[in-house]
């Protein structure tokens, strides 16, 4: 008998998927199933958390040659 | 999503290039050799021809907003640029405005003055070309012209290429360029061989198609045919022997020569059946299929000169080297394959 699991299908780049996997690696409470390189099934309640963490990580990993100036303008 | 990289963008760019119609610079070279025009007066007068050419120029300008022209006239005494005028376009307008105010006072000045009923861009070009061409025709000495048979086609082509080089290649404007040579083809016309060939090679190198429209009854100009063939231009002989008449010049020009270089890969061009590339012997003037070529100056001979000297560069050939050639030239060259 097939199993039906409630979740949220995430479609993204392989790089983003790797990040999500990384986020998941600490607690293993996010990912329900890794479908393939660009698709993931995650826990419905965790979508917002993932988005938030992802944005933070991406911002950290962005090269910004004038960090201070950018902060000063505060955009 | 991952499709952003240099290669895909480059592909797209080149694709755009072929689809996008880039403006083009047309260099028109007009034969202003008065005796030649006299000869075909019964078929088309020079003023009729000029009117047709002007319509053609307008048509070219109409094709694209940024299309531009360059008009060059040539006769036996030389070649010169008729359009654009030296001082650039800006001052022409003011000059022309002066002229207009003058012409009001003078009454009639230019042969046909078209007032405001014409598109401004066309009008400027037409007026300048007309005035300059008329100047050129009037200021040449007819008697002298009759005598001289050499033509400045090479000069006109050189001017056109120089102009195109400067305005298209040096300025890096994204334009295409082509040359249209309108020649009457005087029957005694002589063409400077080396300079003309140099022009053809330069055009070939710069990928500028040279189109030739020949009106006169004279025989085909082999050089010009070669020019068209090697630059992928169009050669059209509008004369009676091809059951065409220069009367309908405007129609021939518009249907045959209007196609832009960007469009040419897509349409079937009138093709030349056979271009003669054979050479003539310097000594006997015979056409040769197989000939001897001097290794120093590349002159062509159909037989070994009797005094073993080159007729043009005067080099003496050694007995030994000629001995091998004396026999019927069927000697197969040895092809040695050397193994490393």
């Amino acid at each position: 008998m097939p199993k039906a699991t409630r979740g949220v299908l995430i479609e993204c780049d392989p790089s983003i998927k790797a990040l999500i996997v990384n986020i998941d690696s600490s607690q293993h409470n996010i990912i329900l199933d890794e479908l393939d390189d660009t698709h993931l099934m995650i826990h419905p309640s965790m979508v917002e958390v993932v988005k938030q963490k992802l944005n933070k990580m991406l911002a950290e990993n962005t090269y910004n040659p004038n960090e201070e100036a950018a902060k000063a303008t505060g955009k | 999503m991952n499709a952003i990289d240099g290669t895909s963008r480059q592909l797209k760019d080149t694709e755009d290039q072929t689809l996008d119609d880039t403006p083009s610079l047309l260099s028109i070279i007009i034969d202003a050799h008065v005796p030649s025009w006299e000869e075909i007066k019964s078929q088309i007068s020079i003023s009729e021809a000029v009117a047709s050419i002007l319509v053609f120029i307008n048509a070219h300008l109409a094709l694209h907003n940024s299309n531009s022209v360059n008009v060059i006239g040539y006769n036996a005494s030389g070649a010169r640029i008729l359009y654009p005028p030296k001082s650039g376009v800006e001052s022409t307008r003011s000059k022309e405005r002066e002229e207009r105010s003058e012409s009001v006072s003078d009454g009639e000045q230019a042969p046909s003055k078209k007032d405001h009923s014409m598109y401004r861009q066309f009008k400027t070009v037409d007026e300048v070309v007309q005035t300059e061409l008329w100047n050129m025709l009037n200021h040449t000495n007819y008697v002298e012209e009759e005598k001289q048979h050499n033509s400045a086609i090479s000069g006109a082509l050189s001017l056109a290429l120089g102009f195109i080089n400067k305005h298209v290649f040096v300025d890096e404007s994204r334009m295409r360029a082509r040359i249209l040579l309108l020649t009457v083809g005087h029957k005694n016309e002589t063409i400077q061989y080396i300079p003309t060939m140099n022009c053809i090679f330069a055009a070939q190198k710069l990928k500028i198609p040279v189109d030739v429209c020949k009106l006169g009854p004279g025989s085909d100009q082999v050089f010009l045919q070669q020019a068209c063939d090697s630059t992928h231009g169009i050669y059209m002989d509008i004369s009676e022997k091809n059951s065409k008449t220069p009367k309908g010049l405007v129609q021939y020009l518009l249907s045959g020569f209007i196609s832009d270089p960007s469009l040419r890969p897509h349409i079937v061009l009138p093709t030349q059946s056979n271009v003669d590339f054979r050479a003539a012997c310097f000594l006997t003037k015979q056409v040769v299929d197989i000939g001897y070529v001097c290794s120093v100056c590349l002159c062509i001979m159909s037989q070994i000169p009797s005094n073993r000297r080159c007729p043009t560069c005067d080099t003496t050939y050694s007995e030994k080297t000629l001995a091998g050639l004396g026999r019927k030239p069927l000697k197969k060259k040895k092809k040695k394959v050397v193994k490393p």
Binding site: M1, P2, A4, T5, G7, V8, L9, I10, E11, C12, I20, L32, D33, L35, D36, H39, M41, P44, V50, K51, T62, N64, P65, A69, A70, T73, K75 | M1, I4, D5, G6, R9, D20, D21, V55, N58, A59, A62, N65, S66, K114, H116, S117, M118, Y119, R120, K123, V170, E172, V250, Q251, L254, S255, I258, S259, L263, P265, H266, I267, V268
Partner: protein, 467 residues
Amino acid sequence: MTSQFKNSINDYLEGLPEAVLTRLYQSPATCLAVFRLLPALARTLIMGMIFNPDPIAVADVDALVKPSSQRLKLETQKKLRLLHIFTETQAHIIINPTFKKNLRAALVGGDQNISFGVPCDTEDKHKVDVAFLDAHAVSQWEMILHFMVGTSIGRTPSDGVLNLLKHSGLMEPERGGLRITNAGFQFLLQDVNAQIWTLLLQYLNMSEYLQMDPVDVLNFIFMLGSLELGQDYSLSALSETQKHMLEDLRDYGIVYQRKASSRRFYPTRLATTLTSETAALRTASQSMEAATQDTISSSVAADSGFIILETNFRLYAYTESPLQIAVLNLFVNLKTRFANMVTGQINRDSVRFALSNGITAEQIITYLSVHAHPRMKGMEHVLPPTVVDQIKLWQLEMDRIRATDGYLFSEFKNFDEYKDVSTYAKELGVLLYENPGKRKFVSTLAGSQQIVEFVKRRNQKHRSSAN
């Protein structure tokens, strides 16, 4: 940029009924302008036909185009049919006689026609020179743009302009005032020529509400493009509609009239370059000349390109126009302002800010490449590819993941079962994702119930058949 307005005006023209088009073709200036909007092959075909008294045989056209380019030919013919320039019979193609006659007139001249404008024959007592017209055009046009950006310079455009801005959706009313919309931001990034066309097309749309004759409006627009800068033209040849239009165009800075009752008008550079692309196609040496001669000291001239963008995302813009700076400020983190230039940097934040304003990455890139400094235009890639890619990536980054609620179906007994169920889901149109290799698929939330029932039905059937 130009192709955009070309397409939109083409679409507009194609939508017009034949009778209107034929009326439109009565003006040589319009014929010429329409002619230039056509694809290259169409122009060549038409040129070959307009001096030919006989209709051209279909076979001849077929023979002219290489077999490999048949698609091009069909598209061209379709376009010409839609514009009612070509009529095709069994064996022949007939060109619209009105179009033919008037395009010929445009090329040959001679006939007295007024479609290229009627210059005033009397001397103007208050004659104005080109520099004045340029200044007038720039001040009027920039006033509109400044108003849109919000850097008010003291004056507000006239009601006609405000109406048009509202009607075209570039600005929307908000608390008594007007607020720029996303479309407005996009509008700002276009070059002047495209901006004018955008406005004029909006004007054309609006004119229908105002019960103006579109033929008159179009004829007038196309005529403006063929006028001569610095020449005064008489109002006498204009129709009532066109005189009415003149008032609006005066507000945009496209024409200059000393006062409303004046019997003459001057086109400005905005008008005379309407149908040409000289500004966009200025070559390096020409712009040098223009700069040294310094005849046009306006943003119209500066359009030829003032932005230098480096691979390290630094941007140098040789401009002092507050408008250009305001536009740049939409997506650049500006840092220093000098007497004749501003420097800044494109970074993630500045681009994200622009993206959140509805400006797309594509628009930023187009703006930068259109306004690139001539020295950059000479290069293989006008803009550094790294920057272009990064801007695109930043846009994608805004939306790095797509999340859809659904049910994951897994642990199928065998492939047959998986296949039956997934096919069913596909037929229902609720399948979001499938991976036959792993025998898993995802359906939408709404579809899951039906699938579960289908599985139950299927299993029952199997059980019964097995028994």
